[in-house]
């Protein structure tokens, strides 16, 4: 079982589930539905790419859902104030980066446990979004802005193209730059990296900032898709992103960032949600099935890690 990497099993599961859902619903296995799955999965995948990099470094960011909400509100406020699309998007990305920076400062400078630091930030930022909006959604944006979430280029949704660009950029960072190597090294042995003269504070900060930017970009897609900014828009985004990253093969305790795995896992989760809807299965089951998949992924990941560890023990006296 462990001869193949986890993304392979994600791919196999995706194909198997696709066949299963196509048996349940004649509408599942069509080109248009596949495009729909890509479109629906794009927001989760974009958030999950940033999350993958942070998890690889043995960190976590529970505040991404709140960041999605706040960035939406920032954009809505600016558009309502008459700002153009590009400055609005830039402001959202900057907001995401600043929130990521704040997370990094808590983790790196104040040495707060990443789970607790970002859990607190989730409440602070999410609470801030509710206070500012008084819980009321802001809606009604220009057609230019809505095009990002609803438009198509060459038959493909803009959102899925943006998502592909983020996946490509994330994969490039993970595979071709020092940041990817150091993310894996921080997850595997941060002290080793420090002893080799690498500023782990700097690279950790960059990772959290990138995670914030990914959440902001997801917010751009979501807000334009919904044509409204809601203070609770990013609910469960963090959980889905963590599940996607782990399902894709990035170890929850840190290690090599598997961006391709994250992409395929995002598609798998999209297939499950879409397939259940088309099969007419209650939305309550969707959450249940997603939970089962996450559980299975974590068990597989954990067993794989233990098996590797036993193998290492066995080879020690080789």
């Amino acid at each position: 079982m462990n001869r193949f990497p986890q993304p392979f099993w994600v791919g196999v599961s995706t194909v198997a589930l696709s066949l299963f859902f196509s048996w349940l619903s004649p509408h599942f296995l069509t080109g248009e539905n596949f495009v729909t799955i890509l479109d629906q999965s794009s927001i989760n995948i974009v958030v999950a790419v940033g999350m993958t990099l942070v998890i690889a470094s043995a960190g976590i960011d529970l505040s991404v859902g709140a960041t999605v909400a706040v960035c939406g509100i920032v954009m809505a406020s600016l558009i309502k104030a008459g700002f153009g699309v590009l400055p609005t998007i830039a402001a959202a990305l900057l907001t995401g980066a600043l929130l990521g920076l704040l997370n990094a400062l808590l983790v790196v400078k104040l040495e707060v446990n990443p789970f607790m630091a970002t859990l607190a930030m989730m409440s602070v930022v999410g609470g801030g979004a509710l206070i500012v909006t008084q819980g009321i959604p802001i809606y009604g944006f220009s057609a230019d802005f809505s095009w990002i979430g609803r438009g198509r280029i060459g038959g493909l949704p803009v959102s899925s193209l943006l998502c592909s660009a983020v996946v490509a950029a994330g994969g490039f960072l993970a595979r071709c730059t020092r940041l990817g190597i150091y993310a894996a090294a921080m997850g595997g042995n941060e002290e080793a990296l420090r002893r080799n003269g690498v500023s782990t504070c700097l690279y950790k900060t960059v990772l959290y900032v990138l995670c914030g930017v990914c959440a902001a970009l997801a917010s751009v897609i979501l807000t334009s898709k919904l044509n409204s900014a809601e203070p609770l828009a990013g609910a469960m985004a963090e959980m889905n992103a963590i599940a996607t990253a782990v399902l894709g093969g990035t170890r929850i305790r840190g290690g090599e960032p598997r961006i391709a795995g994250t992409f395929f896992a995002g598609i798998l989760m999209g297939v499950v949600k879409n397939g259940l809807v088309l099969a007419g299965i209650s939305s309550y089951y969707q959450q249940f099935v997603t939970g089962v998949i996450i559980l299975a992924a974590i068990v597989v990941s954990d067993r794989s890690e233990k098996s590797g560890s036993e193998k290492r023990k066995g080879s020690f006296g080789r």
Partner: protein, 269 residues
Amino acid sequence: MSALTLHDPMEQVLEIQALSKNFGRVEVLKGISLSLCSGEILALVGDNGAGKSTLLKCVTGTITPDGGVIRLRDKEYLSLSPRRSMAEGVSAVYQDLALVEDLDVATNLFLGTEPLKAGFLVDRARMHAEAGLRLKELGIELPSTRARIADLSGGQRQAVAIARAVMQASGKDRAGIVILDEPTAAMGVRESELVLGIIRGLRERKMAVLFVSHNLPQVFRIADRICVLRSGEMLWCGKTGDVSLQDVIAMMSGSQPVNGENTEGTGDE
């Protein structure tokens, strides 16, 4: 000349004079003096609490001494930072090896100094080629530079850690000092032999090796000189052939008064 060979034979690369360190009221180092030359293996022995680790950490810059001088080649320091120590060509391999198990051999060897192309892209092809070359120079045989550390045996991992230390310590204007803390701890006979062979190879490459070990038979097999520490004092320091294993054990345990040549000893004598 190979990239990992440097220095004239027996050039003095490290000199410690009257080094002292207190932790509160406890005197951990009491005026320690010693020297180390290129192409030499110097073993530091002593019971737990003798001050060996503190001495090593003063040289690697992780502990600031209270008194004394550390001279690296022609530069004199009252204290060193880890960065300065590394820049001067002092590199240490501690027992935890500081390797990243998820990463491959080449990436571990170049961790922090990865070769780049276009200013920001990690040049993996060059990294693997150079890693293979360096390992070959040191006589280290591994399945591949692409093998993950997690898939290597204990001895192979130690070999990678030593190779990395050698690479960091080598180079123009660098002291070429490799510090090894218990390099064969928890290893079987075959694995230990592999590591000892690599350490011997460092002498041939004119590296200066300062190593700590509790395994006295191994110390007697590979060290050129031995320094015995007890309770922060340098009891004896001299050539391996000038002392017996029993004498060293007796000095370490305090059951026998110090005799024989003490070439360096304490600075406050």
